[in-house]
């Protein structure tokens, strides 16, 4: 029996007879894949195609004829282009570039045009695609249409669409807009360098020293996650703004602009960087340090040859995350940026301010570039980092060192003070009558119903939205991850699904929000009905924060024995029994983590939902933005604090429930 003599029989590969269970599983996977296609892939596709769609009036595509006053003899058919030349170019080349809604009237071609005249007109396209409107009635094609003067007045031609990079060319040739790129990159780089340095110091102190109050510092450094990124902006206005408490420290510089953006960015990205670097530092191997010590290496040399290289992947990863967060954030530069334009605010201005959707799409695509790059660098790094951890590592145990521990404590105290001051200032401003003139305590600023921005209704909307996001998001994410991780066969579908699930990480919220406008606001879209409802806010938020939740679920499921499913099948139990009796209970901590993550982010997010809320579905985070815009800074701070209180409460509840569950399940977790 040698391999050479054997030949595989011809025919098709066998396939398992599909069981009822498989059908249910596949059905679920199709549903969740469809969700991601509709909520992510399709909108992004529409956005991309918008950014490369250019609309131009093609004057050669239409022919006109005009009669004399008796309406009997007609002029020769002439194209609009020729007519335009004859009358000296009344339609300027500038006018030809337009948007998807562009309309161009033709009456200017006839200097003596009068809508009362008995002169008759004929119009037709030179090709089947040429389209024009008479009033609101659409005509298309090469048939002549005869109109009286009064009707001809209402004729407008429609532009023809073509694909090309004209929008990008237009963007880059507008100096003010192109400057935004430089500004965004500059802000990103400065903030990243600062945040990484500060976060590394913090992580080092937390992991490598014996200073007291580590738990307190860990807690304080997570605060920025619980507030919208607008809040540090507001705090900076109070501290360093025109009536600022510490305005003197600015030495004549204005906080409105790059300085404010950088300080605020440091505040809101610090927890993200700290988490990543701290993880990298916490996996250190004691044996490396013992080896260094036995080789009589100086602490300084040990730091540069052992500590930093060990954490380098974490540092690089954190740098990319921070850079992406800074340049894609919209709330902070909106509040504190002043005249300093950045990309994220440009999208908002182009779309909300000028209704220039194509240009908004161009900026969105530009924003995608660094985010996608960061995503790929990060995933490449993750793959390499695995090798650093080995089961035989001995965890590093710091030894007390009075001088070093004191230095760490002072440093951490300074950072904690900065964070607490930012929050404290907002808290204070929110609860006094009128900062800084009347400091008597008052809850006037919480009377949101008296302000623009949606009032208390916006706050309740936010809670409802966050709860719905947490509940439905967790279900969708967990079931989706389960299908990816634990289904057999259907490999192509699972790969596609996995790709879609990773995609949101690379899509900034602004870009997602804008793509939703393009996709869902199209009347031809069957999902058009959810536009302007709570549903679209929940869908966009779940999608925006999908990847991290998905990875959390995947990690939990990955730790579960791969053989559970085969065992359950051999015992003839349907998969849903295994799912509800084993998979879900065992993954409960991860499920709770996902839901709190989604809740907190749904409360604070601004970037995607700012394009999507309607008058019935205003949100607290957007209210902060709008009240700040309207000059109601104290109420904006108060609303920001409401979000903070809510998130703290949610966190406490989460901690309590987790602890209870852990206590109950301790029996089977303990070895």
């Amino acid at each position: 029996m040698t391999a050479a003599t054997l030949e595989i029989p011809r025919g098709r590969a066998l396939r398992t007879r599909v069981s009822g269970d498989d059908l249910v599983k596949r059905g679920l996977m199709v549903v969740i894949s469809l969700y991601l296609l509709v909520a992510l892939a399709a909108p992004l596709y529409v956005l991309l195609s918008k950014s490369v769609s250019t609309y131009e009036f093609d004057l050669t595509a239409f022919e006109l004829q005009r009669s004399d006053e008796s309406a009997t003899t007609w002029s020769e058919p002439t194209t609009v282009a020729t007519l335009n030349e004859e009358v000296g170019g009344v339609i300027t080349p500038d006018q030809l570039n337009t948007g998807s809604d562009g309309r161009l009237s033709l009456t200017a071609l006839y200097p003596d045009f009068s809508f009362r005249s008995p002169v008759m007109y004929r119009i037709r396209g030179t090709s089947d695609d040429a389209a024009y409107l008479v009033g609101s009635e659409l005509h298309r094609g090469t048939e002549w249409l005869e109109l009286d003067s009064n009707s001809f007045r209402r004729v407008v031609i429609r532009p023809s669409a073509s694909l090309g990079l004209d929008n990008f060319v237009a963007y880059f040739s507008t100096p003010a807009l192109a400057q935004s790129i430089a500004n965004s990159v500059l802000m990103g780089v400065i903030s990243t360098v600062l945040v990484i340095s500060i976060a590394f110091g913090l992580a080092y102190a937390l992991n490598r020293s014996c200073m007291p109050f580590k738990g307190f510092f860990r807690l304080v450094t997570t605060i920025p996650i619980l507030v919208p990124s607008l809040l540090p902006g507001i705090a900076l206005v109070y501290l360093f703004g025109n009536q600022g408490l510490l305005k003197g420290l600015m030495m004549g510089h204005s906080i409105y602009g790059p300085i404010g953006i950088v300080i605020g960015s440091v505040f809101f990205t610090l927890p993200h960087a700290l988490l990543i670097i701290s993880t990298a530092l916490s996996v250190a191997d004691q044996r490396h340090y013992e080896a260094a010590q036995s080789l009589r290496s100086s602490p300084w040399r040990t730091f540069w040859t052992v500590t930093v290289p060990g954490a380098r992947y974490g540092i690089i990863s954190a740098a990319f995350v921070v850079f992406t967060l800074v340049i894609t954030d919209f709330g902070l530069p909106k509040v504190i940026g002043g005249q300093y334009n950045v990309l994220a605010v440009d999208i908002y201005k182009q779309v909300i301010g000028q209704q220039n959707f194509e240009m908004g799409a161009v900026v969105a695509v530009l924003l995608l570039v660094p985010a996608v790059a960061a995503f790929f660098v990060d995933s490449a790094i993750r793959k390499r980092q695995v090798a650093l951890l080995s089961a035989r590592s001995v965890p590093y145990q710091p030894k007390p060192d009075r001088g070093f521990d004191t230095a760490c404590f002072v440093y951490c105290s300074a950072v904690a003070l900065f964070i607490l001051m930012m929050i404290g200032v907002c808290q204070f401003a929110a609860t006094v009558k009128f900062w800084p003139y009347d400091l008597t305590p008052s809850l006037n600023n919480f009377r949101f119903d008296l302000m623009d921005g949606g009032g208390w209704g916006a706050y309740y909307n936010s809670i409802v939205m966050a709860l719905l996001t947490a509940v439905f998001g967790t279900i969708i994410v967990f079931v989706g991850a389960y299908m990816v991780e634990k289904t057999d066969g259907f490999a192509a579908g699972r790969t596609l699904f996995q790709f879609l699930a990773m995609l949101p990480m690379a899509v900034p919220g602004m870009v997602l929000g804008l793509s939703y406008i393009f996709f869902f606001n199209d009347p031809a879209n069957p999902f058009n009905a959810i536009y302007g409802t709570m549903a679209i806010l929940v869908v966009s938020t779940v999608t925006h924060f999908y990847t991290v939740s998905h990875l959390t679920a995947l990690t939990a499921l990955n730790q579960m024995d791969r053989e559970f499913e085969p065992v359950a099948a051999s015992l003839k139990q349907p998969f849903h029994r295994l799912f509800f009796r084993v998979t879900v209970p065992v993954s409960l901590p991860a499920i709770l983590d996902i839901s709190i993550y989604l809740f907190v982010n749904a409360m604070t997010t601004v970037s995607a939902v700012v394009f999507l809320y309607s008058t019935q579905t205003q949100l607290a985070s957007v209210a902060v933005l709008n009240m700040d815009d309207a000059g109601d800074i104290a109420p904006a701070a108060a609303m920001g604090m409401m979000i903070f209180y809510t998130n703290v409460a949610a966190r406490l509840l989460h901690g309590l429930v987790s602890r209870l569950l852990l206590k109950r399940s301790q029996a089977w977790r303990q070895r």
């Binding site: 595989i8 066998l14 007879r17 053989e563 051999s570 349907p574 065992v586």
Partner: protein, 394 residues
């Protein structure tokens, strides 16, 4: 009792049925695998596997990692469907059935016990949803826990049990639904040596008691030799040999089997006429084989089959061994290694060229024949233990 029909003695008959395909078997086999292929892209993990297993038999799939043994087991379980070929179980075509519609219990190396359910609930998992009353289920669970000797642990969680205990629970869970076939996927590999030896004895007894047809996958030859009624030796996706433990050990069908099970001395040789082979420096009489005169072959003899005779000319052979004066070779003892139960020696002779002959001698023989490093002695390579295999095509 079912297990008495286990063809311990009749395995030769079973084997002859296998080798002579097409002849009608006396009794139709319980599990019949026919021309099963499994391909992953260009790579074929199973190449036309055909195998019959009788009811009540304990069969081991043995082979190095990547030989296809686990792939074959998973095909039988319906976990990774074969690309071609059919599988019949108890006369039913199960080739393309999903796992839930087949009839087997399975035990994995990882135990795969549900961590959040008690031992009791784990064992009862397959019994729920089956129109059994609570009392019936409880009784069956108690029975099974008794069977594996863990009745006192019923209320504990898996993490509170030792590895060996967990594996016994996994076995009880698999047997709860009284499956017609028990599949064991390297069930002992995660355990430490002592527990492993103990548990393999226990599993074998349990299997005898229940008479359930069993397939075990293992890469541990000792495990396979100790437990199986028949061993299926696999390599590179094909079956090299099917036979009882003694058959595959004493009469390996190929060089691979000889090499994989037990230890071997291997010498390049050429077939001479008259039942002899020529090594580089000597001629040996050998066991019958089908190789034509002049073909290059590999001559194989196991270290334990080498018979010591002391210093050839002067001292007599061991009293229990009749020296045939055939294949008798003068050797120098180069190295001796004490391995507890026996001595492993490396013997040199011009007749082996540069190669050394490895031979295992009993402590008794070493003492009696006064074998020591540097001494000279003669050894006999018994004719019927010199196996000859054609050189393998590269």
């Amino acid at each position: 009792m079912k297990h008495e029909t286990i063809p311990g003695a009749t395995s030769a008959a079973v084997r002859s049925r296998l080798s002579a395909e097409g002849t009608e078997p006396v009794k139709s086999p319980y599990l019949q695998i026919q021309n099963v292929w499994k391909t992953f892209g260009e790579f074929a993990a199973l190449k036309g596997i055909s195998l019959s297993i009788q009811e009540g038999e304990f069969v081991c799939f043995l082979g190095p990692s990547g030989c296809g043994k686990t792939t074959l087991l998973r095909a039988v379980a319906g976990l990774d469907l074969q690309t071609r070929g059919t599988i019949h179980q108890g006369g039913r075509d199960i080739s393309v059935l999903p796992p839930s519609q087949r009839d087997y219990g399975i035990v994995f190396q990882s135990y795969a016990l549900f961590p959040n359910l008690t031992i009791e609930k784990n064992v009862a998992f397959g019994l729920e949803n089956t129109r059994r009353s609570k009392a019936e289920i409880a009784q069956r669970v108690a029975e099974l826990l008794d069977l594996v000797g863990l009745a006192s642990q019923a209320r504990k969680y898996p993490a509170q049990l030792s590895g060996g205990q967990q594996q016994r629970i996994a076995l009880a869970r698999a047997m709860a639904i009284s499956p017609g076939l028990l599949l064991l996927d390297e069930p002992l590999s995660a355990l430490d040596a002592k527990v492993r030896v103990h548990l393999r004895h226990e599993i074998k007894n349990l299997q005898r008691k229940l008479g359930v047809t069993t397939i075990m996958v293992t890469h541990d030859q000792e495990e396979a030799l100790a437990m199986a009624d028949r061993i299926v030796v696999m390599n590179h996706g094909v079956i090299e040999q099917v036979g009882t433990p003694t058959e595959v050990y004493r009469e390996p069908a190929s060089l691979f089997v000889a090499d994989f099970i037990g230890e071997t001395n291997q010498f390049p040789a050429k077939v001479l006429s008259g039942g002899k082979v020529a090594l580089t420096g000597t001629e040996l009489a050998c066991a019958p084989h089908g190789c034509a005169t002049g073909t290059p072959v590999t001559a194989v003899i196991r270290p334990v089959d080498v018979i010591p005779h002391g210093d050839g000319a002067r001292s007599p052979g061991a009293p229990d061994v009749v020296a045939t004066r055939e294949n008798l070779i003068e050797v120098d003892v180069r190295e001796m290694e004490f391995l507890g139960g026996f001595w492993r020696t490396r013997l040199a002779s011009p007749r082996f060229g540069d190669g050394l002959l490895v031979a295992d001698f009993s402590i008794n023989a070493v003492r009696r024949l006064d074998i020591a490093e540097g001494s000279a002695m003669s050894v006999e390579l018994p004719r019927d233990r010199v196996l000859v295999f054609p050189e393998r095509a590269a």
